[in-house]
């Protein structure tokens, strides 16, 4: 398969050529996915924790739906957001369609259930251990949530990284709401899809290689940061 070796040398050539377009695309990919993961974390962690801690009628169905939403099809998310942001949609006046903001929104919608569902499980596990103590000292619901999220922060990292993985690899939704516009909303995955459709498989694979390398770097950075903090602050 000369395609594979081609891919490798293509990836290498792409990176060493210091291609400005490539940097733009890589930068935008990171910017969008990291922002989306940030948003999803801010929403998903408390939501997952709340679901793990509270007892209310309809909680179990809600957990089932939340778990199911991890399988939200990107294309459908893209479509719904497209219809919402479209000029003839309810939020059309903001002119967000085909902008990076729209892509952040789409990825956030996709990733929030993933982070929330995994956080729910993680917090529930820790809660099993902490529950009685926290109740005994009269800890309120919000305080309990804060304690569990804080003490579980290193475990929650895996959930957040799962969300990041989904975001950075996602193509269906960002293609629809971003439009894959050159110099504007073109990210790594949409470029890979484009090159694939052009039959430029080596370039597509090369870009894929760069994308995976990127994902590895972000993961490594997150884990190293987490561990340094773990060691320093216990």
């Amino acid at each position: 398969m000369n395609d594979f070796s081609n891919a490798l040398s293509t990836a290498f050539a792409l990176v060493t050529s210091l291609d400005r377009d490539l940097f733009e695309i890589v930068g935008l990919s990171l910017e969008i996915s990291l922002t989306a993961v940030l948003v999803a974390t801010i929403i998903g962690l408390p939501a997952g924790a709340a679901l793990a801690l509270s007892r209310f009628p309809g909680r179990r169905p809600l957990i089932i739906v939340l778990n199911a939403l991890m399988g939200l099809p990107p294309v459908v998310v893209g479509l719904v957001i497209y219809l919402l942001l479209s000029r003839s949609g309810p939020l059309g006046s903001y002119g967000l369609l085909f902008t990076p903001t729209a892509m952040v929104i789409a990825q956030s919608v996709l990733v929030t259930p993933i982070i929330a569902a995994l956080a729910r499980q993680t917090v529930a596990d820790l809660h099993e251990e902490y529950d009685e103590h926290l109740r005994a000292i009269g800890s309120g619901p919000l305080q309990r949530m804060a304690t569990l999220l804080w003490d579980g922060r290193f475990r929650l990292l895996t959930a957040i990284l799962a969300g990041f993985g989904r975001a950075i690899a996602e193509v269906g939704a960002v293609l629809i709401v971003g439009g894959n516009i050159l110099h504007s909303t073109r990210v790594m995955t949409t470029t890979i899809a484009l090159e694939t459709s052009k039959g430029n498989l080596a370039i597509a694979l090369g870009l894929g290689l760069i994308l995976v390398t990127l994902a590895v770097s972000v993961n490594a950075a997150a884990m190293l940061l987490g561990e340094t903090a773990h060691r320093r602050y216990g």
Binding site: E132, H133, R135, A136, I137, G138, G140, T147, G234
Partner: protein, 245 residues
């Protein structure tokens, strides 16, 4: 010591009225009723699995009775929780440093940073954990964990303290120190409700004894009377160190 509703912060009398607690088809606590009127030190005795820990949890409001009702000075256990301290038989250590474990309780109670610092350091001192303040609480030895748990419960000088086998893992010196602390606290008017397996400790500390067996309250009497001659034959066997069924 006489009833002193001022010192016990309006939490007394504590009334347990026909309380049962069921898990599945089994009654872990079986129709138990009693009143604690005053701040005497009450010790719950009973064999393993008698229901002592379950009863303490019910009293603190961590479990809800399947039947019957519990009130502290007329209020529910949950509403008065913050005014009591509880030491579990198997204390929970947060994944934090020793000092942070103590501070966490204070934060929960909404105490400001400045006051917290002083309280944490005083509690560490008293528990003999000063040198371990920055250690991960989960790496503490068995006795150190128990000391930390007691320090956490003591922290805000609650009007009522519930203790479940508080000295099971303490060395003789620390046991003596905790016993002295319990007596001192009781003397200031706080109510002590505790369990222990150590008959000698029960003799030293109890002013009032409750004997629990198979989830039923079989005796509830002044300690002097109880130790002089329990009415219940199982209780007699128990304090004689016999296996009872």
């Amino acid at each position: 010591m006489a009833a002193d509703t001022t010192d016990t912060n309006g939490l007394l009398p504590m009334v347990v009225d026909a309380v049962s607690y069921r898990a599945g088809d089994q009654a872990l606590i079986d129709h138990v009723s009693f009143r604690l009127e005053d701040s005497r030190r009450t010790v719950i005795l009973g064999p393993n699995g008698a229901g002592k820990s379950v009863l303490l949890r019910l009293c603190h409001g961590l479990l809800a009775p399947s039947a019957g009702a519990i009130t502290w000075g007329g209020s529910t256990p949950a509403a008065t929780m913050k005014r009591r301290g509880l030491v579990f038989q198997r204390p929970v250590m947060l994944r934090r440093s020793v000092a942070a474990n103590i501070e966490h309780v204070l934060k929960t109670q909404g105490i400001g940073r400045d006051r917290r610092r002083g309280l944490v350091s005083a509690a560490l001192d008293q528990a003999g954990l000063k040198s371990l303040a920055h250690r991960q609480a989960r790496t503490l030895s068995g006795g150190e964990q128990q000391r930390l748990a007691i320090a956490r419960a003591w922290l805000l000088e609650p009007a009522v303290v519930l203790l479940d086998e508080p000295t099971a893992n303490l060395d003789p010196g620390a046991t003596r120190a905790v016993e002295e602390l319990i007596i001192r606290l009781g003397a200031t008017g706080a109510k002590i409700l505790m369990t222990t397996h150590d008959i000698a400790q029960a003799r030293r500390l109890a002013e009032e004894v409750m004997f629990l067996h198979h989830g039923r309250l079989l005796e509830h009497r002044p300690a002097v009377e109880f130790f002089a001659g329990p009415r219940d034959p199982d209780a007699a066997d128990f304090i004689a160190g016999q296996l009872i069924n």
